[in-house]
């Protein structure tokens, strides 16, 4: 149960939130090719290190925000409301 720093609530147990995965940019659905779309759907950098990821404060403020987390150590830095 790691601590996730919610920019609104303050530090919270990760179980109070839902991890929504790495931040991935979405191509324009009206103009992109199928393969560009599939890359958005499926391909993930998945690094063993720092990632920018989205969390949803499900049990608290119900806001989505991004944090930087090191997937090798679970260390967390920075917080940015979205």
């Amino acid at each position: 149960m790691i601590i996730v720093p919610c920019p609104n609530c303050g530090p919270r147990n990760s179980g109070d939130l839902r991890p929504a995965g790495e931040v991935i940019s979405r191509p324009d659905p009206a103009t992109c090719s199928l393969s560009e779309w599939r890359e958005y759907l499926y391909m993930r950098p998945n690094p063993a290190g720092w990632v920018t990821e989205t969390w949803y404060c499900r049990g608290g403020c119900r806001r989505y925000f991004t944090i930087e987390r090191n997937t090798a150590t679970n260390e967390i830095r920075g917080q940015e409301a979205s």
Partner: protein, 950 residues
């Protein structure tokens, strides 16, 4: 009580309170304060059980929690640690691992084939003939170690949990741990002090007068301190990321065990040291005990451990044991000083030690052997914090290497010292812990929205200026010149380890897996260091090059009951569920909801809807109140169809696909006002869709004016269905004209029903009948429901349940997302062609939708009827290619239709079979292949919808 000594100065037993219990059926008595083992030992018992593989007799070894030979069955509880569990009156205690009896154990014949049970034994044998392996396995399973489950009793749910938020958590209540707790508390930190045993004091408890006096003084100070909470008979079982710490509290007034979950600022590990056995031939013979065991038995429990003892000592604990044994009247046959190179080579004896061979060639007669050959530092908790302890050959034990800033070590795990030195190091550690944790608390208060700003200044960070504890030299005593037991609970000897190394399993991890050394209940606390030393010797390398295996949680085993705690499995109930249950409904668990499946006869309930009017509680439908000018944009984004032009007062069916084009949800959404909408979702999808809408609104379109409010439980949803539904509602509705012209199909009105205002009425038709879905403010729902039933008596009004609704919807051919579609079903499969609009700038899964509609190979959902209408194919029955086994589809829904008097189905089929009139073959579960015909419509009944549009 043959082995009970006269009163000892530090004894913890209360001789005024006798407790009777049984040991293997024999009546015995002990005293309040005894452990189970001390009470049994006081009664003159030497043999407590049999070892796991060889079924060798085993007696007391360590006389504490970790004693591998003292796992006993107590009543319905298996594997009780008799070395630390306190005796209670009436306990029924018995041995484990014996069959048929402790004295005559058939499995002990394993000793005769001992050479076959060496390491890797299983992998190399029982192989040929291969067909016999299952038989061998059956026999092996009979000899599994451990206690027995009593199936008639369960304590599941009686356990308990608790959350705590201490600034400092101290693991270990010896002199260093208590010193740390007091210093941290004095500095203003809140402290949780956790002690594994039932009293504070650590090793001072079985020490001399001065040590016991010091323990009492510190313990009293801790108990009295307002900032300290003391938990005894409790173990820190695990340290997880971000100092999330598990404590198993074993004795508590209201629960058999309690899991205390702590988020600690700083954890101070003061776990002390665990004494290590010495490896030599016969070292598992009853009568061979550790120095600490001798001292605890004599000093705490006044139990005489033997009559004639040989003591091998390498340290003060052994020296102290000699003094204690003498005081207890045990004849000291010899003291072998390991610091001078003296050691034990082997012992002989079966039920008890009889002879001791010494490395100077002597063969001594004794019934007791006491060894004090050094310590294992239980670095488990440090290990869980990322530390990789390092071996120090001078001190002959492991020390922590690099700790994160929120973990500090003190006491024996950090070094050696006098009681005063240990306490002083603990106090310095406590001060440091307080500084770090108060800084953290300050941050936490500052960052937490609900708390005000801190009213105190954040302390300046102080450096770690503690004077390190010394590391006293200690001889490296691991193994004698003979081979003996390394892992007592797994029956793994040093010989096994040497052999494993020779076979190439020469790293500690591979050796562990191959021989199972350190994998038993004490998880390496007694065995790890000896195993590493044997491996180092076998590999011809230094101890430091061996490393140790990774110590994983829990530090000490914890009951499943405690981990589970109370059974908190929330169930959602509509405002009408009590009524349903009072009126004979069969409960149906659907996701988190409990619902009425039926009230006795689902077929009759369905028929009543077709003939008269029925009421069903559909509250679990997800309901979202949407407000704002940009709601249509949101709806166009998340639904495949268009919404901009929906008029106020109208509702529309919407279907959703996910970004990968797979059908994900559906429901009806209505426009209640210019900027006010009510959206419904499937029951199971409600939560996820709410979160998805918020995601789009917050991250992609913060410029849109939309407010989403979940109102599922606030509105109790009652579907009034059947030809008489309008008549019924007209009797109770105020302010709404229910006539067909004024309130047409797929419309919404707001008004008063049965005197309740703010009811939202939708005219829709999932059942295919004229029907209205009335959404009632839930505090008044029971009144409306009961009034509808009373008022509709003459109209044949009756409740119907989920099963009747399933029948009715299948007659109408309405698909259910997740049942008639699956995790790969795209929009064309579900037949959404008429709904999907591809000319939108953005909608979920748009490229996948375009791709899907360019294909002709996707399965198609169709209505299906068997040729023989009396046969109801099972849901999930496969559609196959005639008498071949090629799969061409499957039945997704099926029921007997009360309206049509025949079976009806929906199914997914290969597109080549999707044309109306195609004959298909359905493989029944019993193997029959039956014929069925693909229908023109999904609906089996009134496909034009005439009945619902009246």
């Amino acid at each position: 009580m043959t082995n009970r000594l006269p009163a000892q100065p530090g004894e913890v037993i209360d001789r005024s309170t006798s407790l009777s219990f049984t040991w293997n059926g024999k009546q015995m008595t002990g005293y309040e304060g005894d452990t189970i083992a001390s009470a049994i030992a006081a009664n003159g018992v030497d043999v407590f059980g049999r070892s796991m593989k060889y079924h060798r007799r085993r007696g007391i070894l360590t006389a504490d929690h970790w004693d591998p030979n003292l796992f006993l069955q107590v009543g319905d509880e298996p594997n009780v640690r008799a070395g630390s569990r306190k005796l209670q009156a009436g306990m029924v205690v018995s041995t484990q691992n014996v069959w048929p009896s402790l004295k005559f154990d058939l499995a002990a014949s394993n000793q005769l084939v001992g050479r076959f049970l060496s390491s890797g034994f299983y992998y190399k044998t029982f192989m040929r003939p291969q067909f016999l392996w299952p038989l061998y396995q059956k026999i092996l399973r009979k000899f599994a170690p451990g206690g027995e489950i009593h199936w008639e009793t369960s304590t599941h749910g009686a356990y308990d949990k608790r959350y705590v938020h201490p600034d400092v958590l101290v693991a270990g209540g010896g002199p260093a741990g208590m010193g740390a707790a007091l210093a941290a508390a004095d500095a203003g930190a809140s402290v949780l002090l956790v002690e594994h045993y039932t009293e504070l004091g650590g090793h001072l408890r079985w020490g001399d007068d001065a040590q016991r006096a010091k323990a009492a003084e510190l313990a009293a100070a801790c108990e009295a301190h307002a900032n300290i909470e003391v938990l005894v008979d409790s173990t820190v079982t695990g340290r997880y990321d971000h100092n999330w710490i598990a404590v198993n509290q074993r004795s508590h007034a209201t629960a058999p065990e309690r899991l205390v979950k702590a988020r600690a600022g700083v954890m101070v590990v003061a776990a002390g040291l665990i004494e290590r056995p010495y490896v030599f031939a016969g070292n598992d013979t009853p009568g061979v005990i550790l120095a600490g065991a001798a001292r605890r038995l004599i000093n705490l429990f006044s139990v005489k451990p033997g009559t004639k003892a040989v003591v091998m000592t390498a340290n003060e604990e052994g020296d102290g044991a000699v003094a204690d044994l003498e005081r207890a009247g045990v004849e000291i046959v010899a003291v072998l000083d390991a610091r001078k190179g003296e050691s034990i080579v082997a012992v002989e004896g079966r039920g008890r030690v009889s002879k001791v061979q010494v490395n100077d060639g002597r063969m001594l007669s004794a019934d007791t052997v006491v060894t004090a050959t050094g310590w294992t530092a239980p670095t488990s908790l440090l290990n869980m914090g990322g530390d990789r302890p390092v071996y120090d050959p001078v001190a002959a034990r492991y020390f922590s290497n690099s700790l994160p800033s929120n973990i500090l070590a003190t006491g024996g795990i950090a070094g050696d010292g006098s009681t005063a030195e240990l306490e002083a190091h603990g106090r310095a550690t406590g001060e440091l812990a307080a500084n770090r944790s108060l800084r953290r608390r300050h941050d936490r208060v500052s960052q937490t929205a609900r708390s005000g700003a801190p009213t105190w200044a954040k302390p300046e960070e102080v450096a770690d200026s503690r004077t390190p504890l010394a590391r006293n030299p200690h001889p490296e005593c691991y193994r004698s010149t003979t081979h003996g037991m390394v892992d007592f609970s797994e029956d793994v000897s040093s010989k096994d380890l040497v052999q494993a190394s020779k076979e190439g399993f020469d790293s500690i991890e591979l050796m562990k897996r191959y021989t199972t050394v350190t994998m038993g209940p004490s998880q390496g606390k007694l065995e790890t260091v000896n195993a590493a030393s044997v491996l180092a010797e076998a590999n011809g390398v230094e101890m430091a090059d061996i490393g140790t295996t990774v110590w994983r949680p829990p530090y000490s085993p914890i009951s499943l009951g405690a981990l589970a705690g109370r059974i908190l499995e929330p169930v959602r109930r509509s405002a009408l569920q009590d009524w349903h249950e009072a009126h004979g409904s069969t409960p149906l668990l659907a996701g988190q909801w409990v619902r009425p499946d039926q009230y006795g006869d689902a077929m009759a309930e369905a028929a009543n809807v077709r003939a008269n009017v029925g009421l069903i509680d559909v509250t679990p439908l997800g309901k979202l109140d949407l407000r704002g000018a940009d709601v249509p944009k949101l709806l166009e984004l998340v639904y495949v169809n268009k919404w901009q032009k929906l008029d106020v007062g109208r509702v529309r069916y919407g279907a959703m696909v996910a970004e990968d084009g797979v059908v994900s949800d559906d429901g009806v959404t209505g426009r209640l006002g210019e900027d006010h909408w009510l959206m419904t979702t499937t029951s199971s999808g409600a939560g996820a869709i709410w979160e998805m809408l918020e995601d789009w609104l917050q991250t992609a379109h913060p410029e849109w004016d939309v407010h989403v409010t979940a109102v599922t439980g606030g509105l109790t949803s009652i579907n009034v269905a059947g030809p008489n539904s309008r008549t019924l509602l007209e009797r109770l509705t105020e302010g709404v004209d229910l006539s067909a012209d004024a309130f047409p199909y797929f419309s919404v009105r707001t008004g008063k029903v049965a005197g309740v205002s703010d009811c939202i009425i939708w005219r829709i038709g999932f059942t295919g009948e004229l029907s209205y879905e009335v959404h009632v403010p839930s505090g008044h729902a029971l009144h409306v429901w009961e009034t509808l039933l009373e008022t509709g008596v003459d109209l044949g009004c009756a409740p119907f349940g989920v099963e009747a609704q399933r029948i009715l919807r299948l007659e109408k051919g309405h698909y259910i997302v997740g049942q008639d579609t699956d995790g790969l079903s795209k929009a064309p499969t579900a037949g959404l062609g008429g709904l999907v609009k591809l000319d939108k700038p953005d909608t979920l899964g748009l490229p996948e939708l375009k791709h899907a509609y360019g294909r002709d190979d996707l399965p198609i959902l169709v209505g299906i009827q068997t040729v023989d209408g009396s046969i109801v194919p099972e849901e999930a029955a496969q559609i196959v290619d005639g008498d071949q086994n090629t799969i061409l589809g499957r039945i997704t829904s099926s029921r007997m239709s009360p309206t049509l008097g025949r079976s009806i189905c929906l199914g997914q089929v290969d597109p080549s079979l999707s044309a109306a009139g195609t004959e298909i073959t359905v493989l029944m579960a019993d193997g029959r292949r039956i014929k069925a015909l693909v229908q023109e419509h999904h609906a089996h009944f009134d496909h034009e919808g005439a009945r619902q549009r009246v």
